[in-house]
Amino acid sequence: MTNAMAAEAALAGATCAYSTLDPATAPAATSFEAVLARYQGEIYRYTIHLTRNRTDADDLYQETLLKAYRAFDRLDGAANHRAWLYRIATNTFLSDRRKRGREAGLDEATEQALTAAPDDHAAGLDARDLLREVESFVAALPVKQRVALILRKHHELGYAEIAATLKCSEAAARANVHEALRKLRQSFGDRL
């Protein structure tokens, strides 16, 4: 069972000493506003993770919500709204990036340079600089690896959902996440 599934299961079976939102009186899952209210915070954070800057994130977020709003009526009532929103945000991000014809963030040459940074140079960096370097490194990963890692690590999506988002097999989704972590360990495992 994935973390995300475990979390969902935990929520479904959660016993809380406090009355929580009663499903009977909760806003119908079929209302776009209800779906938005539930997921907008995490989707916005996701757009920030992807774009790494607030202005681009605001644009991506707005574009994502507009697309979702327009498509909502055609959506199957049983759809997984959370995964659907992540998918729209991811596709919009990837398509914008293609149109611009450049990588958001660092290019491959920079990744090589970062990977090859000698250890004695690292010793002089303080922890904050090192974290910034990790952030840049993640941004410079091949885009599918980066998106898969963000979705799994920071947003706890299951591999089936990541696979649907990236239009690849579950095995490839998993391999992308693992490969990103492997590269991070190779570059930073001994330095952090």
């Binding site: 979390a7 929520l11 406090y18 929580t20 506003e33 391999a175 972590l181 492997r182």
Partner: protein
């Protein structure tokens, strides 16, 4: 060791092909043993358990392993210094990734989308021993509580907007039942006449992880303390202590969801959204012993 390095290098050469490939994978991906699981894989003849362990480590830090697989991996690394060092590296990377998530205080509220929003949250300010409280409710339940000493009304309204709600001053017909009940219970709590809240809460817009943390926190009884680590363990993510702290920093409904009862493992108080004095005051009001085992 030679064999391990060679295997790893081979894998490194294979996987980048995934990046631009749209064809379905024809072979099991490196790093996983999806058909037989890592324990059976490690016991196959001719397979070096260290290879299996190292392959399983990325999955370990993102929660892909089953509990028996996790136990096997930890058992293996306790006997093998090479793998222990490798696992350490993955755990440090995982820790760095956790720290890349901005803390709650810096997490930006989403901009108001140019879409119609129909859900209203009305709010009222009440007096309390910890200063004025802003209490907001929807027709479904209490959704936000703010400490007016450390947060302006504009900031509080911003939190409601970030949850997809339209802020409306004072309770209206739709919210007087839920909001009114909560305010009455809060007054009883502060007067020492109530040790348990029984009001509907509205968690719309709260992420599943934060929700799990809040539900676990809600179970801590009046006057008792728990730790960030306890909560992380209780929601099945023992490594997520810092993420639990962040989630509690985003507790939309303090006092009623008693995040003030969660302290650091060493017994120090930890942080609090409304300021540490409020946390101390609430715990004193509950008569909680500020010494943990």
């Amino acid at each position: 060791m030679e064999a391990i390095m060679t295997a790893s290098d081979d894998q490194a050469n294979q996987v980048p092909d995934l990046e631009e490939s749209t064809a379905p994978m024809m072979v099991a991906p490196t790093g996983t043993w999806p058909d037989i699981g890592i324990i059976a894989a490690a016991h196959q003849p001719g397979i070096d358990p260290c290879d299996v362990a190292c392959d399983a480590m990325p999955g370990h830090v993102v929660g892909d392993l089953t509990p028996p697989e996790m136990a096997w991996l930890l058992d293996h690394t306790s006997d093998c210094s090479y793998c222990a060092n490798m696992l350490n590296g993955y755990e440090r990377v995982d820790d760095a990734l956790e720290r890349l998530i901005p803390p709650a205080s810096q997490a930006a509220p989403p901009p108001l989308p140019f879409l119609p929003s129909t859900r209203r949250a009305s709010y009222r300010t009440i007096e309390s021993p910890v200063g004025p409280l802003l209490v907001a409710a929807t027709e479904a339940g209490v959704c936000e509580i703010g400490f007016a000493r450390s947060e302006s009304e504009a900031e509080f309204r911003g939190r409601l907007v970030a949850r997809g709600l339209t802020p409306v001053p004072d309770l209206d017909e739709a919210t007087v039942a839920t909001g009114g009940q909560a305010i009455a219970q809060l007054r009883e709590y502060f007067e020492g006449r109530r040790n348990r809240f029984d009001v509907p809460l509205d968690f719309a817009g709260v992420t599943p992880f934060t929700r799990a943390v809040l539900d676990a926190t809600a179970e801590i009884p009046f006057g008792h303390l728990s730790t960030y680590r306890d909560i992380a363990t209780r929601i099945g993510k023992p490594g997520a202590t810092r993420a639990v702290g962040n989630a509690l920093g985003r507790n939309p409904i303090p006092v009623i969801i008693p995040c003030h009862r969660v302290v650091r493992s060493g017994g120090s108080l930890g942080g609090y959204t409304g300021g540490i004095q409020i946390k101390e005051r609430l715990l004193a009001l509950e008569g909680a012993a500020l010494v943990t085992a």
